[in-house]
């Protein structure tokens, strides 16, 4: 399926970019006329994925995080990737309350929050090469008439 719109963004793994990334994602996704709640779901999930890339992917180093958003008729696919250290055991990392950094007071709930607020979360990772998290969500705007026809 071809996306109706797409954007790509690259930014440094600085914590001040967490807010930037979630605001940009929400602004782009708002073209699909989602509800305020759905938009907040996207902001929360993006914030979790970007935070993971900063804390776990790059740890104390600064690297590049890439975010790709693809809009379809009524759904969005958001890919957030880093070229950081990767995840050894994805299944373990996705367990609720599991964290590799308890000393940093990480709650271990990042993936669980992503899964709760999005329809589907896909994680691909290779130790030493990086991680890509893809978030999928279909909006209820599909059931409401669109405000304006796309040109």
């Amino acid at each position: 399926m071809q996306p109706v719109n797409e954007m790509k963004l690259e930014f440094l793994s600085k914590s001040s970019n967490e807010a930037f990334a979630r605001v940009v994602a929400a602004a782009f996704v708002s073209q699909l006329d989602p509800t305020i709640e759905e938009l907040a779901d996207v902001r929360t999930a993006v914030s979790e994925a970007v935070t993971n890339a900063i804390i776990h992917g790059y740890e104390d180093e600064t690297g590049t995080i890439r975010m790709v958003c693809r809009l379809y008729e009524r759904s969005v696919e958001i890919e957030i990737s880093d070229e950081g250290k990767g995840i050894e055991d994805i299944e373990l990392a996705m367990q609720p309350l599991y964290t590799s950094k308890p000393e940093m007071e990480r709650s271990g709930m990042g993936f669980t929050v992503m899964e709760s607020f999005m329809d589907r979360v896909k994680v691909r990772s290779k130790p030493g090469e990086g991680t890509t998290v893809t978030l999928y969500k279909t909006f209820s705007s599909a059931e409401r008439p669109r405000k304006k026809q796309e040109k």
């Binding site: 914590s15 001040s16 967490e18 935070t51 007071e105 709650s107 709930m109 929050v113």
Partner: protein, 114 residues
Amino acid sequence: MDIKFTNRGSTLIAAFSGELDHHFAEYVRNKIEREVIKATTRDVIFDLTGLSFMDSSGIGVLVGRYANIRKLGGKAAIICSNGRIRKILEISGVLKLMPVYSELNDALRALSGA
């Protein structure tokens, strides 16, 4: 992100406003910690009413502070009316540690044991 403190007897009320994410987690943690260790503080109420955004980084902050408050013999409660933030508190198990109220008076009453 801002945090303001008021005292009601030995209860410290920490009122959050803005967006709480990983970027602000350490700032908030240090600010609360300084107040919690004061001899005048026993119980703590985290008032999240003014937060427009919180992700799981906020959970780490709350649970970490809760552990310290308990160590010092105090109790803690949360005030939250935002549905999404409440859902994050729920799925992360925070509601099992601290009761959540919609109104400050309810939280104060609960902590005083009335």
